[in-house]
């Protein structure tokens, strides 16, 4: 029968974990001056945060819609290009076939359509 391994921590580890727990509750990180903190807190409290976030979200949605429109336009362009290339290929095959059927190409050499090579 298997038994899961339980590690026995050293007194130093227990002490360190205790200290980390005590210190980490207020953890923050990142550069900001006391003046920036004051400004941030002031802005946070003076503005209706839901309203502010809604405004930001709407601006973001507008940006995303513009981006989506741009993506769709680009996709359309690429699809049209792809279609043009396919048509061009078909045209070349038809021309090669016609040349083959007519017996010669422009240089007078017997022509074979590319797709028969």
């Amino acid at each position: 029968m298997s038994q899961s391994k339980i590690n026995q921590p050293t007194p130093e580890q227990i002490e360190r974990w205790k200290q980390i727990d005590e210190l980490e509750h207020g953890a923050t990180a990142g550069f900001s001056t006391p003046e920036q903190d004051d400004k941030n807190v002031k802005e946070f409290l003076e503005n209706d945060y839901i309203e502010t976030q809604l405004e930001r979200l709407r601006a973001h949605r507008k940006k995303l819609i513009e981006k989506l429109k741009w993506t769709e336009d680009y996709e359309d362009l690429l699809l049209k290009e792809n279609e043009k290339m396919s048509q061009k290929k078909i045209f070349i095959i038809i021309m090669q076939t016609l040349l083959y059927l007519s017996g010669t190409d422009n240089s007078g050499v017997k022509a074979y359509p590319h797709f028969l090579h």
Partner: protein, 191 residues
């Protein structure tokens, strides 16, 4: 030891979590600081408010760089914004993962007991960020800590670089920290 779920990017859970945080900040300010921000000045909670504002300002533009942990109550416990950066380390230009901004939840930062409080959220987030950086070949983690917070990061293994508050966790210290966290989990100590 409490367990936390690591979230990369901004999900609806994170958006909802931040909205709850903002509501709680207002509530705590009213209850514990008589609605006056001056009364909260120089507290960890005050700095948390500043960071929440800062992160929220960048949330939509930097959504792919947001890293968070969710606790067993499905509440957002700690949030950060990370970025890939470089640092001159031992005379080499070394890639590193920088924790640009981080804050624990308002109920963790406030000095009054709250039912939502959970220990270990920020430590777990840092652990996950280190692991993510390592998986992408970044063995150094960098952050900036205010003087009041330095001791916490030093306990994890971070070292100050130039006296500006910039701290780095090198490969060896990160390995020791990850091992320590693993052993802590295995030891099944209670919080």
């Amino acid at each position: 030891m409490n367990n936390f779920r690591y979230i990369i990017g901004v999900t609806s859970e994170i958006q909802q979590g931040l909205t709850i945080w903002e509501g709680k900040i207002k509530e705590y300010l009213d209850i514990y600081y008589l609605g006056n921000r001056e009364n909260a000045k120089d507290t960890k909670f005050y700095r948390c408010i500043s960071k929440v504002r800062e992160i929220n300002n960048q949330l939509l533009d930097k959504e792919e760089f947001v890293r968070s942990v969710i606790d067993d109550q499905n509440l957002l416990a700690t949030i950060s914004i990370v970025q890939r950066s470089n640092i001159i380390f031992e005379n080499d230009f070394t890639p590193c993962l920088e924790i640009e901004s981080l804050t624990n939840s308002p109920w963790n930062t406030i000095n009054y007991l709250q039912p939502e409080k959970r220990k270990g959220a920020a430590t777990s987030l840092i652990e996950y960020v280190i692991m993510e950086g390592r998986s992408e070949g970044m063995n150094i983690t960098k952050l900036f800590a205010v003087p009041q917070e330095k001791y916490f990061y030093e306990k994890i293994g971070f070292e100050e670089t130039n006296g500006s508050g910039e701290m780095i966790l090198n490969r060896n210290s990160a390995s020791m920290f990850l091992l320590d966290q693993e052993q802590r989990r295995e030891s099944r100590t209670f919080d």
